[in-house]
Each structure stands twice: as structure tokens, then as C-alpha cells.
């Protein structure tokens, strides 16, 4: 039973690690690193793993956890609480093909524009960029699909204006 849980947990982590990392990276603000947030998310997934009943898609559940952990970490940081989990068994290493300077610059632009949004809009646009349908975004955020659609129209404009402003 324990072995089965371990295998299922490993599969969930392997299948979702990139999306978790993308979310952690966008939320990471010094002194918190994306790796710190990633480890917190892993702990939270493990803690809640036995309670996952399969009523929603596993990736919906993972997104919800990742967003909650990142938001909580931000609140902790605002209160000057910097205590983070350390998991020695997760190894982070630079990929063989690292992004070039221009790609890094563009990412920083995007991060700065997304960071300028309020927390609610930030979660919505992150899920939208992850190509989740409005129905799933609505499930995660607790808003209606129509509300998401209206908000997304406005957020998209803000983001486009912000990026083009920075590009020019």
C-alpha cells in the first residue's frame, strides 16, 4: 500500500513538476527562490495526497495547491517570516540548454508585468497562460466562468499594454 502511494506520488510529481516550477518561479521574490517554493509545494502535495478524492482533475488540484502555497509564502514574507522547508532529496540543476540573455530579459519583463496585477488577477492569468479552460480556472478560483471571461479580457489588455510599453 505504502509502495503504491509512493509510486503514485512520484508519478504526480514527475507529471506536474514543470507547471509547479513555472508558478513558483513567477511568485518567487528575493529572498525566496523558486526552489524554496517548489519544495513547499511538494510538502503540501504530500500532506494532502491522501485526501485527494479524484473529484477534480489531479492537475486542477495541483494548481490549487501551488497557488495557495505561493500566496501563503508571500504573506509570510510580508510578515518577515522567512522559514522555508528544505528537502535534500530534490535536486535542482541548471538545464543543459539554459535560456539566453534575451529570453531571460523577456521573462523578467513578463514577471514584472504579472507582478503588477492584483493577487486575484495574477492567479487567473497564470492559469490562463497554463492553457486551462475557463471552467477549470473557475473551479480553482471559486469565480464563475463568465466572471473569469470578463476579467480575462481586461487582464489581457493590461498585460499587453505593459509588455509593449516595456518593449518600446
Amino acid at each position: 500500500m505504502q509502495k503504491q502511494t509512493g509510486l503514485a506520488f512520484e508519478q504526480v510529481l514527475e507529471d506536474n513538476k514543470d507547471k509547479i516550477y513555472r508558478i513558483c518561479r513567477i511568485y518567487a521574490v528575493a529572498p525566496i527562490e523558486p526552489q524554496d517554493l517548489f519544495q513547499e509545494v511538494v510538502v503540501q502535495i504530500w500532506t494532502s495526497f491522501s485526501t485527494f478524492k479524484g473529484e477534480s482533475n489531479i492537475s486542477t488540484w495541483i494548481y490549487k495547491i501551488a497557488l495557495n502555497v505561493c500566496l501563503r509564502a508571500k504573506m509570510k514574507l510580508n510578515k518577515n517570516i522567512h522559514k522555508m522547508v528544505r528537502l535534500e532529496s530534490i535536486e535542482f540543476a541548471p538545464a543543459v540548454t539554459s535560456p539566453n540573455e534575451s529570453e531571460q530579459e523577456k521573462y523578467q519583463m513578463l514577471q514584472s508585468c504579472i507582478s503588477s496585477l492584483n493577487e486575484g488577477d495574477k492567479s487567473i492569468v497564470i492559469l490562463y497562460l497554463e492553457e486551462l479552460p475557463y471552467k477549470e480556472i473557475a473551479m480553482i478560483t471559486g469565480l464563475s466562468e463568465n466572471h473569469i471571461a470578463v476579467k480575462m479580457k481586461r487582464i489581457r489588455k493590461i498585460l499587453l499594454d505593459c509588455i509593449t510599453g516595456k518593449l518600446n
Binding site: 509512493g6 506520488f9 512520484e10 510529481l13 514527475e14 513538476k17 514543470d18 507547471k19 516550477y21 513555472r22 518561479r25 513567477i26 523558486p34 526552489q35 517548489f38 511538494v42 510538502v43 504530500w46 500532506t47 522547508v85 528537502l87 535534500e88 532529496s89 530534490i90 535536486e91 535542482f92 540543476a93 541548471p94 538545464a95 543543459v96 540548454t97 539554459s98 535560456p99 529570453e103 523577456k106 521573462y107 513578463l110 497562460l129 497554463e130 489581457r156 498585460l159 499587453l160 509588455i163 509593449t164
Partner: protein, 90 residues
């Protein structure tokens, strides 16, 4: 900005987003991770329980304080009523 330009920029935003996890390689040493998680999670639970206990203790003392204040106010009111009655009888 034209619709076409908007589409192009949005497409670029999506690509930047999708590639944003590519700079990092993440490896799990799963058997070690399970051991680590089990030990950490049980420690978290212990910490959470002790935090809850201290919260409850604080709340109880607040409750007791409020309750004593309430009792004193009730006794004071009763004493006043009694003294007033005594004065009237005199």
C-alpha cells in the same frame, strides 16, 4: 495596436511562459524523499498541534478574563441595587 500585433505579442507571452521552466532540471530521489517527507510532515504536525494548544491557552485566559469582568460587573450592579433598596427603606 492592431489585432494582428496583439495576437503576435500574446503568442510571444505564451512562449515565454511555456519556456520558463526549461532552465531548471528537477530530479527526485523518491525513496529518500518519502523518508524525508514522512519525518518532516510528522514534525509539522507536532508543531501545528503545539501552536494550536498555545492559541487555545491564550483564548481560554482571554475568555476567563472576560468572564471575571462580567461577574464583577454583575456583582457591582446587584450591590448597587441592594444599597439603593436599603437607602429607600431608611
Amino acid at each position: 495596436m492592431s489585432g494582428k500585433e496583439q495576437k503576435e505579442i500574446w503568442q510571444e507571452i505564451k512562449e515565454i511562459w511555456n519556456h520558463s521552466s526549461e532552465g531548471e532540471r528537477i530530479n527526485f530521489h523518491i525513496s529518500k524523499l518519502m523518508i524525508e517527507l514522512r519525518s518532516k510532515v510528522s514534525q509539522f504536525e507536532k508543531d501545528a498541534i503545539s501552536r494550536d494548544i498555545s492559541k487555545i491557552t491564550e483564548s481560554i485566559s482571554d475568555f476567563e478574563r472576560d468572564s471575571i469582568k462580567g461577574d464583577i460587573a454583575k456583582i457591582t450592579r446587584s450591590l448597587r441595587k441592594f444599597l439603593n433598596l436599603l437607602r429607600k427603606k431608611k
